[in-house]
């Protein structure tokens, strides 16, 4: 019996572990190591953050689901990898530290035959002074990155609404909290949900709303922008996005590296080098992501973290990491199998893999501060990569080391993004977008880098209903209810 360890229980890790357990059956062991007791459907945290959903509606306990799937579950965080084994054994192992109540701080060495790193990101609030400490949210702003953060955000939003009802104007600042953030889409969706709630509460005229983002143009989304079919036209995401903001009377500040957060104001540096401050009463700023800080050691105990991981903490995989000019970037730079080039029994999935480079055009201020979005690797790409990795690992475990590895390049996969505004079945709307492929391929699609037949955007109730359907469908799937394998990632 061989053992597969999956580090992380988010979209990528959960997908990998559950499919691997199904395909491997009881002949092999699948172990999930995740510090969380609950699974969280993160896209719906937006609705928790405006008080339209509870934490319980977007989370569920992992233990019974893994028990049903025959997966060994360790509520713990991975600390280090020893891919060559240790002094007493050649068997590779991972050192974990329990987070489970009653076992906090205890550690264990878990041997493995194959390991998948799907740890997701460290929410790096500490990268911006005042935004937080390490991975902990600070006191001045709110976040919707976790269900608990979203609950906190909803309380702060309610306080702001009450102040406006009492006649006090409020300034809302929503966007990115650093020059190297990703996930602009989440902040974008939260902005529109807050605006919708303010309208519903009858206080929109008491609110000044501003978007702050590290994107060099509106609608970059960390993908260098996109051209999509809208109403029969091929339209730039810049025009599409600016229209959404203009319609709602939300101003924007873009190309901004938020470099300081204090009570009631943020400091920023712009791409043209100017610096300034923006005041706020309510701010939701997304933190930058980093790897979770896993270390790696060789058999002699020497630190080989730099061999296994990129400097940003994400795991190196089969990408082309050779530094090259923006003009020389190609779709083929992007990984296909997510196998670590040094240790073939290690894979990374979802946010945990190190991208070869960003997708957007690299930019920096005259002071040398890099200000550009990093590539999005959440949601649909995470699930698809997780399933491809599960296929590959299962093949290796059952057919041997020469088994065919499955491929899932982000330059050959699409993504769907539904940004809602409101939650009511008939009162909300949504901007539904798809992009194909996520990473533009200018050799295959010389015009816009993408297939405009499958890169489209639309605003209306229909997208909003899709958001509702996705919420229920993916929670149903993640709970491994009957027919779960039929629901695509």
């Amino acid at each position: 019996m061989a053992r597969l360890i999956v580090l992380g229980g988010g979209v990528a890790g959960h997908t990998t572990a559950t499919f691997a357990a199904k395909w491997l059956g009881s002949e092999h062991e699948v172990v999930v190591v995740t510090p969380n007791a609950k699974w969280n459907w993160i896209p719906s945290n937006i609705w928790v953050g405006v008080g339209r959903m509870t934490k319980e509606e977007v989370t569920f306990d992992l233990a019974p689901v893994y028990a049903k799937a025959g997966i060994t579950y360790k509520q713990a965080k991975a600390v280090s990898l020893n891919p060559e084994g240790g002094a007493t054994s050649d068997k590779p192992f991972v050192t974990i530290e329990f987070t489970e109540a009653g076992r906090e701080g205890q550690s264990e060495n878990l041997e493995y035959d194959y390991i998948v790193n799907a740890t997701g990101p460290k929410l790096n609030f500490g990268a911006t002074p005042g935004l937080g400490e390490g991975s902990n949210l600070g006191e001045h702003t709110v976040s919707v990155c976790t269900a608990d953060h979203a609950v906190h955000a909803s309380h702060k939003l309610e306080e702001a609404i009450q102040k406006m009802k009492g006649g006090e104007r409020q300034k809302f600042l929503i966007g990115t909290g650093h020059g190297m953030c990703t996930c602009q889409g989440a902040a974008f969706e939260y902005m529109f949900n807050v605006e919708h709630e303010l309208n519903k509460a009858g206080v929109r005229d008491m609110a000044d709303m501003k978007w702050i983002s590290n994107e060099s143009f509106m609608g970059d989304f960390g993908m260098g922008g996109l051209h999509m079919k809208v109403g029969g036209y091929v339209v730039s995401s810049k025009l599409f996005t600016e229209s959404l903001f203009a319609e709602r009377n939300v101003n924007w500040l873009i190309g901004a590296h938020t470099n300081k957060v204090e009570a009631g104001k943020v400091g920023y540096e712009l791409l043209d080098g100017t610096v300034g401050e923006e005041e706020f009463d309510f701010a939701m700023l997304i933190p930058p992501f980093a790897g979770v800080g896993l270390k790696a050691y060789d058999k002699a105990g020497e630190d080989i973290t730099g061999v296994v991981f990129a400097p940003n903490g994400f795991m190196k995989v089969d990408a082309d990491y050779a530094p090259k000019a923006y003009a020389d970037w190609k779709a083929s730079d992007w990984p296909r199998t997510y196998q670590n080039p040094t240790y073939k029994n290690m894979f990374a999935a979802g946010i945990a893999f190190a991208p070869p480079h960003i997708i957007s055009k690299p930019m920096s201020s005259p002071n040398g501060t890099p200000i550009n979005p990093t590539p999005p690797r959440t949601g649909m790409p995470s699930g698809i990569i997780g399933k491809a990795v599960a296929h590959s690992v299962c093949a290796l475990m059952t057919e041997g080391e020469n088994a065919h590895l499955h491929e899932a390049s982000m330059a050959e996969m699409g993504a769907a993004c539904v940004a809602s505004a409101g939650k009511g079945i008939f009162s909300g709307t949504a901007a539904a977008m798809t992009v194909f492929p996520v990473v533009p391929d200018y050799e295959k699609y010389p015009g816009t880098g993408r297939d405009t037949d499958y890169t489209f955007g639309e605003i209306g109730l229909a997208g909003h209903w899709i958001k509702h359907v996705l919420h229920h469908l993916f929670i149903y799937k993640a709970k491994l209810n009957p027919g779960w394998t039929l629901i695509p990632e």
Binding site: E242, N249, M380, A408, Y454, G460, L461, A462
Partner: protein, 52 residues
Amino acid sequence: MKQEEVNFEQSQFTQTMIPGKFAKAMRTCVLWQLFRFAVLNIKMIIVVQKSH
């Protein structure tokens, strides 16, 4: 001034487009949106299939 023209008074919004009454009505027209729901689902399923 028409409702959709109000926000154009702000300099930041002058280079974009703002939907008028008809476009907004279509966004919330249940019959039209039921049709678009079907179309969007089919297109998204194709994108998902092409991605696997």
